[in-house]
Amino acid sequence: MATTTIAAAVPLRRPRRATLLRVLLRRPSFVVAASFLLLLVVVAVFAPVIAPYDPNKQVLADRLQGPSAQHWLGTDDLGRDVLSRLIHAADLALLAPLISVGVAILIGVPTGLWAGLRRGWVDAVFSRIADALLSLPGLAFALAIVAVLGPGLVNAMVAMGIVFAPNLFRVVRGAALAVAEESYIESARAIGCSTARIVWVHVLPNIAAPFLVQTTILMGVALLAEASLSFLGLGVQPPDSSWGSMLEVAYQNQYRAPFAVLPAGTALVLTVLAFNTIGDCIRDAVARRRSA
């Protein structure tokens, strides 16, 4: 008597993440934005190779020149090549937001999960704290934290991370709440799944989408915040420079070289735009899948 195998009859479920990526890749705006960010990573990694000049080399005779054949984006007030400085600061444009978003994730995600899944007084306390933190204007609060920690890029980004944490907390908590209501959580508990397993297998995949959307948007906001703080002198400290501090230099010299404000600013806008576009695309893709 032949035995039939059941396995062949049951269709395998494709992992969710793979299908989301495939959907996203069909959208041209996502492809452009993602390519831009990948390009930025490449530029950041290979900066010493790509940049035409030494970013710190001062040639005082060539100060504040406009774009030319030798200096595609001109020179700054100390005669340094703007394009090379832009290229070398690209790594900070990616790392700085990563630091603050990382801090926000470390603080916001576990607390959000806890509050959303366990509820009770923990939720009440954390939510109140989050409300209080969110009522402080972000940059003002970051300023206060930098006052305590002292100026510096890492400090400034950690401060922004703390500012972002309640934001992420709320998003994760909201998503976790929605998942906790679902009956498959009850079923999982009923068959004896441990909380850790429930979180890992059931909760996290379902909150992945809002989490990803919020995180990508926060990357953009963090970059803008880094630019602001570095512009004010509270972020990156000399001799290092980021696009934000380059803007400050350009601002100091805006009467002598008005268009020097363009390169760093454009780089910032494009990068933030890329982050935002990715966040929007993920949000649209998920919304569409839900209604499909």
């Binding site: 209080a132 009522s135 003002a140 006052a147 305590v148 512009f231 004010l232």
Partner: protein
């Protein structure tokens, strides 16, 4: 709006403010090094430091320090600046008008531009107007506001002399002067919020326009500006108002940088200078003041929401 709801909101606001006070106080406690030493300065003797420690109550338990500080704050005394010795409250109220002017004009610009263009885009969904507004809005959200100000300054100030470059002019010097100083910074500050509000308003207006009650209104003969002002505006504004409070907070934060670029002596400038001078008392006062402003504004926004949305009033 019923009194119970108002009282509950006020209660919530008070609770939030209390937590902010705890957080602010805790922040200063976390200062590296000794507060008394910092206040005493570099040339103090150990006796001086001890004396200051006793005077300022740093040798008391933390909770007691907090309570004393809180009582002090509630009576209106935010302490004295470590740098100049002047009461922080005075310093704040000296520069507050500039920041408030800046933020208020920015909000007006943000709401008027954002909601108007959002609704226009929703009415002309799919047309080039819609695409233009959406693209501009997406771009505007990604822009650093201080860079936008620099760009605006280029034609208006740097290359031509149409508008003054820096500084703040109080109303007392004439409305025109006040406006000419504040208009560029406020526009730069408000445009990012305008962009977001436009996107938001477009979504909510598009949603409203698809609703059955709009069709009913059209069946009664309502068109054009009547339809928009009486049916669309209110219903579309409701979701937008919910994010208004958030934007005010963001504008207050953004004003810090704008003030620096525009050379406006406002709260932000005060805070930055205080930070660089290690004047923690002033920084603390600044944070508290900002929080109070944001909470009050959120309360007002809540009331506005209740006025707009009758379902909430009950």
């Amino acid at each position: 709006m019923s009194t119970t709801v108002i009282v509950r909101r006020l209660g919530g606001g008070v609770l939030v403010l209390w937590m902010v006070s705890v957080i602010t106080f805790a922040l200063i406690q976390l200062l590296p090094g000794d507060a008394a030493e910092a206040i005493a300065g570099d040339y103090a003797t150990p006796e001086d430091v001890e004396r200051i420690r006793r005077e300022m109550g740093f040798d008391r338990p933390v909770v007691e320090q907090y309570v004393r500080w809180l009582l002090q704050v509630l009576s209106g005394d935010l302490g004295n600046s470590l740098y100049s010795g002047r009461p922080v409250t005075d310093l704040i109220f000296e520069v507050a008008p500039a920041t408030i002017s800046l933020t208020c004009v920015a909000i007006v610009i943000a709401v008027v531009l954002g909601v108007t263009f959002g609704i226009i885009a929703a009415i002309r969904q799919g047309s080039w107007v819609d695409r233009a507004v959406t693209s501009l809005a997406t771009f505007g959200i990604a822009m650093p506001n201080f860079w936008l100000l620099m760009l605006l300054l280029l034609p208006f100030t740097v290359m031509n002399n149409w508008l003054p470059a820096t500084g703040y002019a109080p109303m007392s010097r004439g409305f025109g002067t006040w406006l000419s100083h504040i208009i560029l910074p406020a526009t730069a500050l408000g445009l990012a919020s305008a962009a977001e509000l436009a996107r938001h308003a477009r979504g909510s207006a598009a949603d409203v326009l698809a609703r059955p009650y709009i069709r009913t209104a059209r069946a009664r003969g309502a068109t054009g500006s009547w339809l928009i002002s009486r049916h669309v505006l209110r219903n579309a504004a409701i979701p937008v108002v919910t994010v208004l409070g958030l934007h005010v907070g963001r504008l207050l934060g953004g004003s810090i940088v704008i003030e620096s670029v525009a050379g406006i002596a406002g709260l932000g400038t005060l805070a930055i200078n205080a930070l660089l001078q290690r004047d923690y008392v002033t920084v603390q006062g600044f944070v508290l003041f900002s929080a109070v402003v944001v909470v009050v504004v959120n309360l007002i926004v809540d009331l506005l929401y209740g006025w707009l949305n009758p379902k909430v009033r009950a």
